[in-house]
């Protein structure tokens, strides 16, 4: 996975909706990490129902966008990888939800 802080894959668009989060699988990953402090790969796999390869690919994209932080730590003397949203990732997720609500509310009827 790419180094944290690299943002090369951030979509350049004038559209107000963040397409990095708009993709359903990535939305689910972001939402799951939004409601917890941090989680490991297996927990995300269980919660999202994504395959290992698919999840890994989406995590890489989110990390490249600077939305995801990867922390290596030791649990019971074994190396363990925990994933969490960056401050920027949380802000982006909140902005995305706000924008989507605003757009849906502005629809006629």
């Amino acid at each position: 996975m790419a180094d944290p802080g690299r943002r090369r894959d951030r979509p350049e668009t004038s559209h107000p909706v963040d397409r990095m989060i708009h993709e359903p699988a990535r939305y689910l990953i972001m939402a799951t990490l939004y409601v917890v402090d941090s989680a490991d790969f297996l927990f995300l796999e269980r919660q999202t129902g994504l395959t290992k390869g698919n999840l890994s690919s989406h995590l890489s994209k989110l990390e490249s966008a600077g939305y995801l932080r990867i922390k290596k730590e030791f649990v019971d003397k074994k190396p363990h990888t925990m994933l969490s949203l960056t401050k920027e990732g949380r802000k982006a997720f909140e902005a995305y939800r706000g924008e989507m609500k605003r757009m849906l509310n502005s629809l006629p009827g």
Partner: protein, 198 residues
């Protein structure tokens, strides 16, 4: 967005799936069972050690739940929920204390305590699973609250049944916990060890 799961749903799923392993039920069931058996045997010497099976919950969680479900650290919103539950329970305890203080003004105190002490303890024991069910959304805790209420009503009427009722509490909790645990083990088998995707 309307077709997407709401954050509350996602949070509830994350929290419940991690805690729906039945281990807390089994741990607390063992505590009740031990207490009940000690009360039945009449050896009150060991009654202070009855809570010790609760110490098994954390290691069992590490051994059974984490390898199947993965590891998660819950965030501020869950801490807030726990604080709310603690506040509710504290309010219930303070209310009971005030109630007791008002009633205790009329002596003899020990007689009153002897008569109503079990009701106070019973109310607290009912409050724990009830507020737990309310706060965490675990529906079987309502059943435990009802069970405790019925059990303490029996104890209040027939003091000699205390040991048997607590043993029954333990049995029910252990059986319910075991059923939940079996469901959990079936739903989340051990993953095949592969490369580290982290």
């Amino acid at each position: 967005m309307a077709s997407r799961p709401e954050l509350k749903q996602i949070e509830r799923k994350a929290y419940l799936s991690y805690h729906e392993d039945g281990l807390v039920d089994i741990g607390l069931g063992l505590v009740f069972l031990t207490f009940g058996l000690v009360a039945l045997s009449g050896k009150s010497l060991f009654s202070s050690l009855c809570w010790m099976p609760a110490l098994l919950i954390a290691p069992m969680k590490r051994l059974i739940t984490v390898p199947r479900m993965g590891m998660v650290k819950f965030g501020a919103s869950n801490k807030m929920r726990r604080v709310k539950i603690a506040l509710l329970l504290s309010c219930a305890a303070v209310l009971l204390f005030i109630l007791a203080a008002v009633r205790l003004e009329s002596p003899p105190m020990d007689q009153w305590m002897h008569r109503y002490f079990l009701i106070l303890i019973g109310t607290l024991l009912v409050a724990f699973p009830f507020f737990g069910a309310l706060g965490l959304g675990v529906r079987r805790f309502y059943g435990y609250a009802a069970l405790f209420a019925a059990g303490f009503a029996v104890i209040q009427l027939h003091r000699e049944t205390l040991g048997a009722v607590f043993t029954a509490f333990g049995g029910v909790l252990i059986l319910a916990g075991a059923a939940v645990l079996i469901g959990f083990l079936k739903k989340y088998p051990l993953p095949v060890r592969g490369e580290d995707h982290g």
